[in-house]
Amino acid sequence: MLKLDKISKTYRVGTFGGKELHAVNDVSFEIKAGEVVSLIGESGSGKSTIGKMILRLISITSGTISLNGVDISTIKEGATKEYYRKVQGVFQDPFSSYNPIFKADRLFRIIHDEFYPEVKDQDWNEKVENVMKAVGLNPEHVLNKYPHQLSGGQLQRFLIARTLLLDIQFLVADEIISMLDASTRIDVLNLLADLKKSRGLSILFITHDLSLAHYISERAMILYRGNVAEIGSIEKIFNTPLHPYTQMLMASVPRLDKKWDQEISVELNATPSEFSKGCAYFDRCPLAFEKCHEKPPSIEVEIDHSVACWKALENNYVRQIKPVLEIKGGH
């Protein structure tokens, strides 16, 4: 359905723009209808940049993004409205997504005036009420209020309700629950999963939290400094993380069933290799060797599980790490 083909985003940095920063480097993946794909990475990994490129908020340096076979960069300025009927985004901070001097439900009115001016008010109100119920809000309690009178979870559900009015096919969910409390977090997450089931909605779930990603998605992509480190079925990535970066991330996730492994140390002080030609993780990687000065290709090691790491590609290394993971209680 949505296909990213070798997309890159390069920023010119330095005093006279003489240097290049590859925020996203040669990333390809596909999201099918009704699928949830997680984009996982630290800050600066380019995960939000990919989301913004899909939403046409920033331009693509090279490569193509296509929705149902149509290249989205060819959409003319005047025709973008049709695109946004199908593709929408919800972002991290629900409080700054609203204009505080207007009532929160003004955003439904905007959708009506912009996209469905022909619909009668009465029919529209009915439609609004339906989507409010779909996101688990009681319209009587939340309509006609200002943003500060609503909680973060309610505001975030408003924004999701807004996208539903448009009958979208694809949702970019960029860290949408990281600002919410633990008790409301799970409600918003369940809502996304329900929408996927009932409407066949495809979701790009951008997060840095692996347990949330695992809870909701089928497939995942681990990004490191704009490069895909590992991609494939989330089960496989969880059970056998092959890239040293993925392994480090997995070991750092605070869990409720297991204390942190003191042996896997977190390498913190490496200077980023934004301008280097080889593997992006080279400076922080405990296993880096001579070959890593060359950029590793992404190779499929098993069905629906690819990794871009020279070490992991050496067969004996893959065999080596498996018993280690079992001892450490990996699933």
């Binding site: 633990a182 799970i186 869990r255 409720l256 913190l268």
Partner: protein
């Protein structure tokens, strides 16, 4: 003898009346204990943290007393607290890492900070450098501007600064929440190490992320809407919580490996009450699945087992 808080009550003054943000809280922290303080936003955890060290308007001291190492803290008198702040009791406020002076090099900023507390920078420099080594920061950071440091580096620098005087109590407010998982782990583990080395005797770690507390805290105190709900050893809170709120909170957290299709987790229906005119009795009553008539009275925060305190009539009944 660590920290003892007795009957501490703090309100916020507003034009529409007092916001009852912290209501008669009584608890203690032993020497060497790292206590996690968790709850939803607006439950009063930050109010409690700030109330112990810097009571500034609109915060209003209403009642209660605080003893640190058997010495009473004059928390109602902001000027007198100056003798204690930074030296005996120290805080890392939320977003502290972004509050460093952007136009001062970090070393110079530290020097100014110490001078304001009448501490000689040169005398403390060797110790400062030793602590930088501990948190794996190069000594060059002292000659750098905050903008040159990453978020994780800034947070580690703030940790070093706040514990430079070996305070008896450190209050760490959301020190891991704005960081990546790898930096989170590093910062949290360093806090434990600092405690082990005696750079602070005990600590209160305020966060909404209970899984972080499970990793580093010795005990966890759960708050709800300005009242204490439960305090117990970390393991007990996670594995055998007694308060209905704690139970629902713990079960709503996604475990690593849990999947929506296998096991759907449930949130807590409803939302916390407004504290301007808080409901009488137990404030969790409206959302509580086991609430009954007696919950119209405020439940006492009772020790149901050794070091396990719960404020719930239902649980108290079972124990009687």
């Amino acid at each position: 003898m660590g920290l003892q808080v007795e009957n501490l009550t703090v309100y916020y003054q507003t034009l529409r009346g007092d916001v009852h943000a912290l209501e008669s809280t009584t608890f203690s922290i032993a020497n060497g204990e790292i206590m996690g303080l968790a709850g939803e936003s607006g439950c009063g955890k930050t109010t409690l943290g700030h109330g112990l060290i810097s009571m500034t308007p609109p915060m209003k001291y209403v009642a209660g007393r605080v003893l640190l190492d058997n010495e009473e803290l004059p928390i109602w008198d902001n000027a007198r607290m100056n003798d204690f702040r930074f030296k005996k009791i120290s805080i890392i406020p939320q977003y502290a890492m972004n509050a460093m002076n952007p136009i001062r090099k970090i070393g110079r900023m530290t020097e100014e900070l110490l001078r304001s507390k009448k501490v000689d920078y040169q005398a403390i420099l060797p110790e400062l450098k030793r602590r930088l080594d501990l948190v794996k920061l190069p000594h060059e950071v002292l000659k750098m501007y905050p903008i040159e440091l990453s978020g994780g580096m800034k947070q580690r620098m703030v940790m070093v600064l706040s514990m430079l005087m070996d305070p008896s109590l450190l209050i760490a407010d959301e020190i891991t929440s704005a960081l990546d998982v790898a930096s989170q782990k590093a910062v949290a583990e360093m806090l434990v190490e600092f405690r082990n080395l005696g750079c602070c005797k005990s600590a209160i770690v305020i966060t909404h992320d209970i899984s972080i507390l499970y990793q580093i805290a010795d005990s966890i105190l759960i708050m709800y809407a300005g009242q204490l709900a439960e305090k117990a050893a970390t393991r007990t809170i996670i594995d055998a919580p007694r308060h209905p709120y704690t139970k629902m909170l713990i079960s709503s957290l996604p475990k690593v490996g849990a999947k929506h299709v296998d096991k759907r987790l449930a949130g807590i229906p409803g939302k916390p009450p407004l504290l301007l005119n808080p409901p009488v009795g137990c404030r969790f009553r409206d959302r509580c699945p086991v609430a009954f008539d007696k919950c119209l009275e405020v439940p006492p925060f009772l020790e149901v087992k050794k070091d396990h305190y719960v404020a719930c009539w239902k649980e108290g009944e079972k124990n009687a």
